[in-house]
């Protein structure tokens, strides 16, 4: 059953792409996808945390006693989240602003903890790295696509640039909270349709 490193990486991009296939990490997915930039920013931040924590958890998987493993994983994850937080504040401040509270909340993103527990704590470092990277990139792609859809329809822009003519009245429902839910729901539906063999 053991998959190659490449397979571990690739599965995150389609087979197990969160949050479409693994319905996890909904909060950031909903909250920070008003624009495609935000989506990608969040995705990259999460990927960073995911990869780092996966590697570290995998490296330490034999040292950590099982009873406190969750607590230990959380510390590891929280540390990397703080690292990201600090780095973003220092270098990409506008992004940090628009992502707001959701940067520290990466720590409670089920994807990160889920991968640490379900995968990294049972697999070798390179596999965990590939897994983290794959899932992270998948997550980024998902956020970006959702962000793109919401931005295009909700604001009439793509990456900040207007895509429709001036006569377009943005469907601003899409960038409101309800729009986020509905849009994600419909995207899940499309994924289900596509995924059906």
């Amino acid at each position: 059953m053991a998959k190659s490193i490449t397979q571990e990486f690739v599965k995150g991009l389609w087979e197990e792409i969160p949050p479409f296939r693994l319905v996890l990490g909904l909060c950031p997915t909903l909250a920070v996808t008003k624009t495609i930039q935000d989506g990608i920013g969040m995705g990259v931040a999460t990927t960073f945390v995911l990869v780092c924590s996966n590697v570290l958890v995998s490296a330490m998987r034999n040292i950590i006693p099982s009873k406190v493993r969750i607590a230990a994983f959380i510390i590891i994850i929280a540390t990397f989240v703080t690292v990201v937080e600090l780095l973003m504040q220092a270098f990409t401040y506008p992004l940090f602003l628009s992502l707001g509270i959701f940067i520290p909340l990466i720590v409670v993103n089920c994807i990160v903890l889920g991968r640490a527990e379900a995968f990294a704590s049972k697999n070798a470092i390179m596999h965990s790295l590939a897994d983290g990277l794959g899932i992270g990139i998948g997550f980024t792609l998902a956020l970006a696509s959702l962000g793109a859809v919401r931005e295009v329809f909700g604001s009439g822009t793509f990456w900040g640039a207007p895509v429709f003519g001036p006569s377009f009245h943005p469907f601003s429902f899409m960038i409101e909270a309800p729009g986020a839910f509905v849009c994600l729901g419909l995207m899940l539906c499309i994924m289900n349709l596509v995924g059906k063999k």
Partner: protein, 191 residues
């Protein structure tokens, strides 16, 4: 007193944690399929959120702030919350099994619930006083519970409907959550 009520209403309805702030959505979708589960989860969230809100506020005020260690907030909070939840779970399981059966089993779900962490962070960000933090935590939790229970009611019916296959389950759940959030616009501007 009036301020606290307004704060509470604002947290429950206007700035509902789930529907307006997008926090705590995973368990929101997960535990809303059955009314019983939803009620249990709602109670557990109220319980934990108040505890967590208080304890993180204390941590912030007495440790992090005086020593200028705000940057450690994430780590400290999550560690405190996780330990607290796990402790409470073990405590309930042993000492009050009845309560454990009713709401204790939902506790693990809360450790990684961004609603809890989120509210703690909001409390700090908004610079609430202790009482405000207490009220806000409680109210946010009630808001969470309210949304969850209302959602569970709606969802129980949707599970019986002939939803097209690709839309079933989470997909239609999300769309419905969107409608819920839409309906909550009714309270916009009231506070």
């Amino acid at each position: 007193m009036g301020d606290y009520i307004i704060l509470a209403i604002s947290c429950i309805l206007v700035n509902n944690i789930l529907l307006a702030q997008y926090l705590g959505n995973c368990p929101f979708l997960g535990t809303s399929k059955k009314m019983e589960t939803a009620v249990g989860m709602a109670m557990a969230v109220v319980f934990v959120l108040v505890l967590a809100g208080v304890i993180t506020w204390l941590t912030e005020t007495f440790f992090l702030k005086p020593f200028n260690m705000e940057f450690l907030r994430t780590v400290a909070f999550i560690l405190v919350i996780a330990s607290l939840v796990q402790f409470v779970e073990m405590f309930l399981k042993k000492s009050i099994p009845a309560l454990y059966a009713g709401l204790g089993i939902f506790l693990p779900l809360i450790t990684t619930n961004c609603a809890v962490m989120g509210v703690c962070l909001i409390n700090i960000k908004e610079e609430y006083t202790f009482m405000q933090a207490l009220v806000a935590s409680f109210a946010y939790a009630v808001g969470f519970g309210l949304a969850l229970i209302l959602f569970a009611g709606v969802r129980e019916r949707i599970l019986l409907a002939r939803v097209p296959k690709p839309l079933q389950d989470t997909s239609i759940g999300l769309v419905t959550a969107g409608m819920l959030s839409l309906a909550f616009f009714a309270f916009k501007g009231m506070v």
